[in-house]
Symmetry: C4
Subunit: 194 residues, 4 copies
Amino acid sequence: MNKTRLEAFSDGVLAIIITIMVLEIKVPHGTEWSVLIPLIPVSLSYVLSFLFIGIYWGNHHHLMHSVKKVTSGMILANLNLLFWLSLVPFGTGWMGENNFEANAVLVYGVILLLCGLAFTIFQKQIEKNLHESVELKNAFSSLTKKGIVSLITYSTAIVMAYVSTIISGLLFLAVAIMWLIPDQKIEKAVNDLK
Amino acid sequence: MNKTRLEAFSDGVLAIIITIMVLEIKVPHGTEWSVLIPLIPVSLSYVLSFLFIGIYWGNHHHLMHSVKKVTSGMILANLNLLFWLSLVPFGTGWMGENNFEANAVLVYGVILLLCGLAFTIFQKQIEKNLHESVELKNAFSSLTKKGIVSLITYSTAIVMAYVSTIISGLLFLAVAIMWLIPDQKIEKAVNDLK
Amino acid sequence: MNKTRLEAFSDGVLAIIITIMVLEIKVPHGTEWSVLIPLIPVSLSYVLSFLFIGIYWGNHHHLMHSVKKVTSGMILANLNLLFWLSLVPFGTGWMGENNFEANAVLVYGVILLLCGLAFTIFQKQIEKNLHESVELKNAFSSLTKKGIVSLITYSTAIVMAYVSTIISGLLFLAVAIMWLIPDQKIEKAVNDLK
Amino acid sequence: MNKTRLEAFSDGVLAIIITIMVLEIKVPHGTEWSVLIPLIPVSLSYVLSFLFIGIYWGNHHHLMHSVKKVTSGMILANLNLLFWLSLVPFGTGWMGENNFEANAVLVYGVILLLCGLAFTIFQKQIEKNLHESVELKNAFSSLTKKGIVSLITYSTAIVMAYVSTIISGLLFLAVAIMWLIPDQKIEKAVNDLK
């Protein structure tokens, strides 16, 4: 019950972040098919960010489910996570409106990296107050591994931005797909709690 | 309890989608009655989309009520549904600002069709984890029938866009009205659960 | 439990309506005090609408508290109420940006009138499914009286818009103040329920 | 249960306020690094306001946790608090877009001061209906002390705006940091309640 509000506030912020991004796909003047072409990069950029915010929501959901009581540390780590996530629409817009140019792709990668770090900090705060459950510990160490792979991939994508932004984009997508594959371990561990 | 957050997140996104659309009805300069006339197509477009999002919210509410536990499949199918619904404000704005021209009506129909398909996928995910209840099964098959009728009507409206956009518009409206008529079956089945 | 989502969705929409209106107070260029002067009518308009949406939220809260189970009728009546409330930001912006000119004040009054009617319809749907409680019935008849007074005052304000928009504005304010005075009856009746 | 909606509505408004502010960091044209420089003051302004809204959310959370039943007084005091908080995005935008000029810093300080006063009023409304708990009373008097320090610091920052806006900015930051340091007393008192 104590955690309901932390979840509700986070859900609110995440829901608004997702829907703010769609505003970057600006309604064009005219209805010839050609007016839709300039919207393609912005739309691709939106799809990618929608996936990331959706994944963060899913993981946030799973993490919070294993929480017994909310601590001040969690509240601060959660605010920190929401802060970096709130910059995603800016990164998405800048990258999309500038046709995935190197600098914008790099900044997008840095924002994702900082979100990833903030999520790791949040996860550590929650691990301090975990239910006693071997399954849950395994699930968390699986999350940690995925987290490390993500941070390394983001870093690679940032470096690659000046070589080929297409490679950077594919690396971002690879991270998203890795997270979209449902993780049996955490789901089972969380469901077994209650 | 597990499903509270999936509902809360979806409610948040749907609430924002509905209220973002009203921003397309831009406050005009001047206060002569004539400045309101150009707002008529945008307003009609808003009314139609408000109905659709409202109906999706109502059906989402009913479906979730019959869920015992949230699976990864549901989470993904729900994110997929929210993604397509998040494009409704764009379709609404494009159609409204361009006075219901054929291409815009066609795109609006395609978005509605994809939302309908995403809802069907979401419904199938939920049916996999249903309470054992004959009434609920009947209610779901009634939902499925309405869903198929909707998809066929959307497809017809898309094709008709180049013949007469008025017919397309009326077909959209017909789908909305079909869903607005309260369905005794699903309501009863859901209420009997608890 | 069944009503949680109807409340959550309505809260979301009302929260967004309130915060969308503040976007009409556009950040001016320059920091001389004089740049703030043109913001005065928009700000007054915002204060008035903030009060109205806040009051609707409070009354919605009280009404829903007395509901045993959510019916399709309530869902539709609630969507209808949210639709008219979603037009309040438009009315607020138009009135504020045009310095309370007669036509804009009239439209604002009409929107408030339609919101008031929609609320009455919503209330009637809830009265059909009321807990058996004499106190609650008294509280509802007190709400109905206030509702009728509001509708009459809105209508008067609409007519007065062409005589004096100041009188119309004061009438709107009078309705808001009437509702802001806490109603002991409904509060007591609702609290006694549980 | 009665207080769920007051929390949900407030969470919604606070979540939207936080995410609306990020829209002031407008996506620039071009991707040279130099286009990011003009965004620095707006971003600093955003960070500061994000902290304040986040802190208000945390304190609101703690206060509400100690509430037994929601009164009309709380509803009104909460609406009053949300009203002043809803002006934070305007103050943030004006200050950020004008590079922390004296008048804008002063107005920002005044908005924070009024938010602080509104929070104090809200707190007093809650203290009237407190659980019988010595610890909770101590926690509240600790909150009151912090509140008074904040109000004095805001007032000093307002006066200092014409001397040095840097000092004002640092004073705002000092208040934020004071509140970010977790308060063991209130956390313990609130957790002991249940």
